[in-house]
Amino acid sequence: MTLHIVSKSPYSSKALADCLGAFAEGDALLLIEDGIYALSGRMPESIAASPVYCLQADAEARGLPIPEKIEAIDDARWVELCTQHNPIVSWFK
């Protein structure tokens, strides 16, 4: 299944919304860089049942608390996620 990597804030970019429009059951979402801001406020309902990860370092850099349902990961786990999923799609605009 696909790993979707979103690196832009949903409050200033359509990257996350576009990503969710191309989400299949079993896909996973990883929030990195400004994508972390999706953790502030409500996460979209459509991915309530999907695995959602965020880069710990990016959340810390931005002073964002990480909600319970989101798994904060380090770089090693990021690499592991990429080995466990295919293809890998990046949403950055």
Binding site: E33, D75, W78
Partner: protein, 130 residues
Amino acid sequence: MKFSLAVYSAPHSSQSAASALRFARALLEQGHQLYRVFFYCDGVHNGSGLAAPPQDEVDLVGEWQSLQREQQLDLVVCIAAAQRRGVLNEREAQRLEKPAANLAEGFELAGLGQLADALVNSDRLVTFGD
């Protein structure tokens, strides 16, 4: 596993190129292979030897060069994208009659065929864009 990375973003203009470097280091630390890093679009600026960030900021070009030396990486800068943006090696600078060359050591200019080749020869492609 064999990874290739596609980097479309310039260093410093956004976090994306720095994320690519972090990911590159992490995958190598985990014992995976990094087949190629292909710098395309504004990513060609990662190969500019003229970048001179302040001392208290990360020198991304320098960091790519260190990693390249340590791990014998294949860092490819797309020649067409580089010409458009002014990243040239000696040969290209002379051929195009430009006043200087600036491709940083450790990087190579090559065509888009190298991206296609990376797709065939890697298990995973991760894209870093902005």
